[in-house]
């Protein structure tokens, strides 16, 4: 085995899947060739060799400074690197392993995550193999008790959910990164030491010194900012001696991937108390390449060693498939144990170190919020780091990362906790009420709500200090609230309002019907000098808008209707696609000032700039 020091990060409970990369050797898979990524000697090591040849150690100050070092090459770390690159920021990703994550793991990609993938130019690659879905069925024994129907309409570019195994997700992102000169992905590189130097504020000349262990030994790496994306048992979290707090649940699940060429449609199926798992729960999902995923709860007194044996797993899957009438032949590929947690750090920022994904929070899998909330972390942090590195914002913007994403974590906890208690009732009381709700749901519509699996939904930064709240006098009847992601509207076949954010690298101002207002478009141009991209939504045909990149053709007025917008109304969108202000029309000079104030606020610069220097 390579000289990678792995022992120190292991813990006795390592057989549980908390969503992280388990150090592992390559396995044979029925459907996926795990690529082997070589270790390549980095410039830092060459510097050290040159210095050693001259009889000296390399000076820390002589090391190159990476603007951002991302520790961990899972979905959140890879997406963060792509987000930074989109804003022109270089990063280095340090991944301990030599290949992508093993098995299906986080296999459900939410619509919001697909929008994030589109933002970094990777949505097309996902859609090639992902299986989109919109509905699901929950059974109590063999009776359907709940039909899950996720919101979907022709206004949406993406389905509410799409299934793709995590190894395939990571492979798509790695391939995308290979075409991105701003990202350096270093495999077989484990961070084993860390020291913060100088002040931790954005306006000071501090840095972080990492010690990276590789098959060829250790080397020092200097970075302005470090992002820990190294999973549930984050090594960075341990180096900083930080602890997660919250609650853990007792219920254990066995997760298995198997290949089965069944024509059954892609949907979420859940069984409560089926004869194949009496008193417990089973979940099934179809995935790409004829792969299926089954999650079944283990009995309280089950022996893990017995349950994990291949014979036992095969026997249990066979029983369940026979009971649901599935007679397609199948082959087992991968198994794993899982336990649910609602745990997070008190602060997602520690000086020059940020935590994203499972390194910051562990959430139950029920409702598919693990990877999806991790990608939202990367989406939130990327533009903030870029704005600070570019000198467009100060340290206060970085301080907004924790309140925005920790609020999202607690929203996830509230929903996922409820799902977990329903899926795996921990006590007699919870079980009795669960069974009562299931039985009532056979005959009472209102009781079916108890069975709703509460699938992942995007979090709106309504109470964020960066959000300019909707003015209650403005009386918006629909459209995204300030803090919500920009809502999708289909403007003409295959063209969506959210497309106007493609390739943007900063704030975007959407102006409805500017040509119809007294001042026309010219009056808005000063905002371009403030770094705001202008998008004019006009009732013109696609052909009429063809030559004008800042015109969004809305021939039927669909966007204006969906946003309850009148001529001259504006929506200001942050670089991460969230609306930070929506403003009813006002005289254009005043409107420009309101837009600028909202942008200052969204850059956390409002306080310093709005305090008058002298009176």
């Amino acid at each position: 085995m390579a000289a990678i020091a792995r022992g120190g990060l292991r813990r006795p409970d390592r057989q549980y899947d908390h969503g992280m990369h388990e150090p592992r050797t390559r396995t044979d898979s029925l459907y996926f060739d795990y690529p082997l990524f070589p270790f390549r000697r980095p410039p830092e090591m060459e510097l050290a060799r040159a210095a050693a040849a001259g009889g000296t150690a390399p000076a820390e100050a002589a090391l190159p400074v990476h603007p951002v070092a991302i520790v961990g090459g899972g979905p959140s770390g890879l997406v963060l690197a792509l987000e930074l690159a989109r804003f022109g920021v270089r990063s280095v990703v340090l991944e301990a392993d030599e290949t992508v994550a093993e098995g299906s793991r986080a296999a459900c990609v939410s619509r919001r995550s697909m929008e994030i993938f589109r933002g970094v130019g990777a949505d097309g690659a996902f859609l090639r193999e992902a299986l989109p879905w919109t509905h699901g069925t929950s059974y109590w024994r063999d009776q359907p008790v709940f039909r899950l129907q996720m919101p979907h309409s022709p206004d949406e570019r993406f389905h509410p959910m799409a299934n793709l195994q995590q190894n395939m997700i990571e492979e798509v992102l790695v391939e995308r990164i290979a075409h991105c000169p701003l990202i350096e992905l270093r495999w077989q590189s484990r961070v084993v030491g860390m020291a913060q130097r100088g002040a931790a504020r954005a306006d000071s000349d501090g840095w972080v010194l990492l010690t990276v262990d590789t098959p060829e030994g250790e080397y020092p790496l200097r970075a302005r900012w470090v992002v820990a994306a190294d999973g549930a048992r984050s090594g960075v979290r341990q180096l900083l001696a930080l602890r997660l707090s919250g609650e853990s649940f007792e219920g254990r699940y066995l997760i298995a991937d198997f290949r089965m060429a069944s024509p059954h449609p892609t949907e979420r199926r859940a069984w409560f108390d089926p004869p194949t798992n009496p008193g417990h729960t089973v979940l099934m999902h179809k995935m790409a390449r004829d792969m299926w995923r089954i999650d079944y709860q283990l009995a309280e007194d089950a022996d893990e060693a017995v349950e994990l044996s291949e014979t036992r797993v095969r026997e249990r899957i066979a029983q369940h498939l026979a009971w649901i009438g599935e007679d397609t032949p199948w082959t087992l590929d991968w198994t794993r144990l899982y336990k649910a947690h609602c745990l997070c750090l008190d602060d997602y920022r520690h000086g020059r170190v940020f935590f994203i994904g499972d390194a910051a929070h562990l959430v139950p899998i029920f409702g598919v919020r693990g990877m999806n909330s991790s990608l939202a972390d990367a989406n939130n942090l990327g533009w903030k780091l870029a704005a600070v590195l570019d000198g467009e914002a100060g340290d206060a913007l970085l301080d907004s990362y924790t309140p925005e994403r920790r609020a999202a974590t607690f929203d996830v906890f509230a929903n996922a906790r409820r799902s977990t208690l329903f899926m795996t009732p921990p006590t007699r009381g919870w079980r009795l009420m669960r069974d009562a709700a299931l039985q009532l749901s056979l005959s009472h519509d209102w009781a079916r709500n108890f069975v709703n699996p509460r699938q992942s939904a995007p979090y709106d930064y309504l109470d964020s200090p960066l959000t300019t709240p909707d003015d209650p006098h403005d009386d918006w009847r629909c459209g995204p609230r300030a803090g919500a992601p920009l809502a999708s509207v289909q403007l003409s076949p295959g063209r969506f309002l959210t497309d106007c954010l493609d390739h943007v690298t900063g704030f975007t101002l959407i102006v409805f019907g500017a040509d119809a207002t007294r001042n026309g478009r010219a009056a808005w141009q000063p905002l371009v000098r403030d770094g705001i991209a202008l998008r004019f939504v006009e009732r013109v045909s696609r052909d009429a808008a063809a030559g004008s990149p800042d015109t969004v053709a809305d021939p039927q007025g669909c966007a204006q209707a969906a946003y309850d917008a009148r001529d001259g109304d504006c929506v200001l969108v942050r670089p991460d696609g969230h609306v930070c202000a929506r403003l009813r029309a006002s005289p254009v000079d005043r409107q420009l000032e309101r837009v600028r104030a909202a942008m200052r606020r969204a850059l956390a610069a409002a306080d310093s700039e709005e305090q008058p220097g002298c009176r």
């Binding site: 009795l432 009420m433 069974d435 009562a436 709700a437 039985q439 009532l440 009472h444 009781a447």
Partner: protein, 65 residues
């Protein structure tokens, strides 16, 4: 509007008979379903939650002096 004494007594009788019909195996499940149905029909979260606390009070044998 509270039940009349007559209505309360009739409900008391029906409930006693229903617990016997459910049997020892299912009486808890039956009572849990009943509570959810009644709370839904009541349409008043505060009253429903107060009823939980009132029913929990003084359960079991009296505490030792």
């Amino acid at each position: 509007m509270p039940l009349t004494t007559e209505q309360s007594e009739a409900f008391y009788d029906r409930l006693a008979e229903a617990i016997d019909r459910a049997g020892p195996q299912d009486e808890s499940l039956f009572l849990a379903k009943l509570a959810l149905l009644l709370a839904h029909a009541l349409g008043n979260a505060r009253t429903a939650e107060a009823a939980i606390e009132q029913a929990l009070a003084q359960l079991g044998p009296a505490p030792p002096r």
